[in-house]
């Protein structure tokens, strides 16, 4: 039982990191129907910036983290301005491909810094260890991830349901032309979406940095891990991103705990089911509930 609870809690903690990473992704999809394949790069850049500011710039960690989030938001804004804006109205494959190209460009840019190869540990500002309760333990960075996610969830929820800007963001996703007709600045909406996406990606990156250290490949891989989470939750749902992220985190934790043994029994050597189960679930989900748990279904009337 303790085992089960522990695995659950650890899964939730990891899931919250996915959730953070997924939020920015969902935001972009929600406003512009773009799947952002450069999300992982945003995560990495945010984390590296925080590291650079804290370690080389000798800033207090919290300040460095905050600055890095803002800078990454700026990067998101810039990316939208320079690249995405020119593609409004192009077929969706072009836009997806641009984010893929962008991912590669950002990779290249990272190689221009010392972060391109090698591993870095984030300066420790939380105490070692973590909370322990009846044999169940959570590390402080993990608690931070959970806290961050909760805050963002509430903020985003309010933003999209209540604020005029949030509602018009959804409107833009529905029908750009109609949104323009009542004076929504579509360009401003997109720029904002990308900026906020950068911000949350950086938050995710910083948390990852604290949990497990910085490594370009590892950080970028989180960008990939987000896909099953958002499909599960629904590509355009904020609560979906969080729930999906957490489910995937728990799924991975449970796969490692309970499934690996089964896999080796059917002749697949080496376990590691946590790497594949999210994608299996993704496929199953696509079949049985194509729009995820909370995604909006396309309203199609002929």
């Amino acid at each position: 039982m303790v085992d089960f609870v522990q695995n659950l809690i650890s899964g939730v903690a990891v899931g919250c990191i996915y959730a953070l990473a997924a939020l920015g992704f969902v935001l972009i999809y929600k406003s512009s129907r773009v799947i952002n394949f450069a999300n992982g790069q945003f995560i990495a850049i945010g984390a590296f910036m925080a590291y650079a500011l804290a370690v080389w710039g000798k800033l207090p960690v919290l300040l460095a983290a905050l600055l890095a989030m803002l800078l990454t938001a700026g990067l998101g804004f810039l990316v939208e301005r320079v690249f995405l804006r020119r593609l409004v109205g192009q077929p969706i494959i072009s836009v997806i491909m641009v984010t893929i190209g962008l991912a590669s460009v950002l990779d290249g840019l990272m190689y221009l810094t010392p972060f391109g190869s090698g591993n870095f540990t984030f300066p420790q500002f939380l105490p070692q260890g973590g909370l322990s309760l009846g044999g169940v333990s959570v590390s402080y960075p993990q608690l931070l991830a959970i806290g961050f996610t909760a805050i963002f969830l509430v903020l985003f929820g309010w933003f999209f349901q209540r604020s005029v800007l949030g509602v018009s963001m959804r409107a833009v996703a529905d029908d750009q032309m109609a949104a323009m007709s009542v004076g929504v600045s579509v360009q401003r909406v997109f720029a904002l979406a990308w900026a906020v996406a950068g911000l949350t990606a950086a938050a995710a990156g910083i948390v990852v940095g604290m949990v497990s250290g910085l490594n370009q490949d590892g950080l970028i891989a989180i960008g990939l891990a987000v896909f099953p989470a958002v499909i599960l939750g629904g590509l355009d749902s904020v609560p979906g991103a969080v729930v999906g992220g957490i489910i995937i985190g728990v799924l991975q934790s449970f796969s490692t705990a309970y499934l690996d043994g089964l896999f080796s029994q059917i002749g697949l050597v080496g376990g590691g089911s946590q790497y594949v189960m999210p994608f299996v679930v993704l496929l199953v989900m696509l079949w049985f509930k194509p729009h995820g748990l909370f995604g909006t279904e396309e309203i199609e009337r002929v």
């Binding site: 409004v88 109205g89 509602v167 959804r170 009542v182 004076g183 009337r301």
Partner: protein, 272 residues
């Protein structure tokens, strides 16, 4: 009578030419004037360029990759040709797009609130929302329904209500009767007339349904393949024999002619 005689000229379109995608020229020198506080109708067959004219005024050529390449559009004396749509909305010109174009995944009320996105007077918005519900009581009943599941008439009301929330001085309506049942067409035009009368909102309405459009308009233009072919007051147009035959469907004999008797050859319109 000229439009000037009906009131101040709020909007003046001077000889504009519009080109789509840098190659397709649609408007070839369109000029028209919209008198303030009046309803002006713009009629014409499919493909004449009515929608394009409205888009040129409201700035919505942008998403269609179109441009005003010559001529000017003066709104209260200021040239607004090729300005971005959000600026034009701020000046008080709001277009209700053709085909309703409501935000399908937003509720009715959210749709309306998006209409107020450019406004800074939050308190007044609540008030206006109630006013819209007063004009369109049906919308009040379905405020939480997703707009995508509303019927055509409800969507059209919603689209107009949404535009009204942006506080327009000049409302551009593009074929509000499209796909609506007769009862609703009547209802919507009555409401438009009512809004015009009560609030003094100037309206420029594009319509195929000439009969109903002319029933509320004060002045009208008829457009054929990118040009204005005919203009005049309602009375003038309603009595013009060509308009009667081609747009109102009045047979030479005076009564409504039957569709069963349509002739199978094309006649030339005299004013073309």
């Amino acid at each position: 009578m000229r439009p000037e005689d009906l009131g101040n000229i709020l909007l003046e379109v001077n000889n504009i030419e519009v080109v789509y995608k840098d190659i397709i020229q649609v408007l070839r020198g369109v000029s028209l004037k919209v008198p303030e506080g009046q309803i002006t109708a713009l009629l014409g067959p499919n493909g004449a360029g009515k929608t394009t004219t409205l888009r040129a005024i409201s700035g919505l050529l942008v998403p269609e990759d179109g441009k005003v390449v010559s001529g000017s559009i003066l709104y209260r004396g200021e040239n607004i040709a090729n300005k971005p749509p959000e600026q034009i909305v701020l000046k008080g010109i709001v277009q209700v797009p053709e085909g309703r174009r409501v935000f399908k995944h937003l509720t009715v009320e959210e749709n309306l609130r998006v209409g107020a996105v450019t406004r800074r007077d939050g308190a007044k918005v609540r008030e206006d929302l109630e006013r819209i519900y007063h004009y369109f009581p049906k919308l009040a009943l379905i405020r939480t329904r997703l707009a995508g599941y509303c019927s055509g008439g409800e969507q059209q009301m919603l689209a107009i209500g949404r535009a009204l929330l942006a506080n327009p001085k000049l409302l551009l309506l593009d074929e509000p009767s499209l796909g609506l049942a007769p009862l609703l067409v009547r209802e919507i035009f009555d409401i438009v007339a009512q809004i015009n009368a009560e609030e003094g909102v100037t309206v420029l309405v594009v319509e195929q349904n000439a009969r109903v459009a002319l029933s509320v308009a004060h002045y009208g233009y008829i457009m054929e393949s990118g040009r204005i072919a005919l203009e005049g007051t309602r009375e003038y147009l309603e009595t013009n024999p060509d308009v009667k035959e081609f747009y109102l469907g009045v047979a030479k004999s005076g009564g409504r002619k039957s569709f069963k008797d349509v002739k199978s050859y094309r006649r030339r319109k005299r004013f073309m």
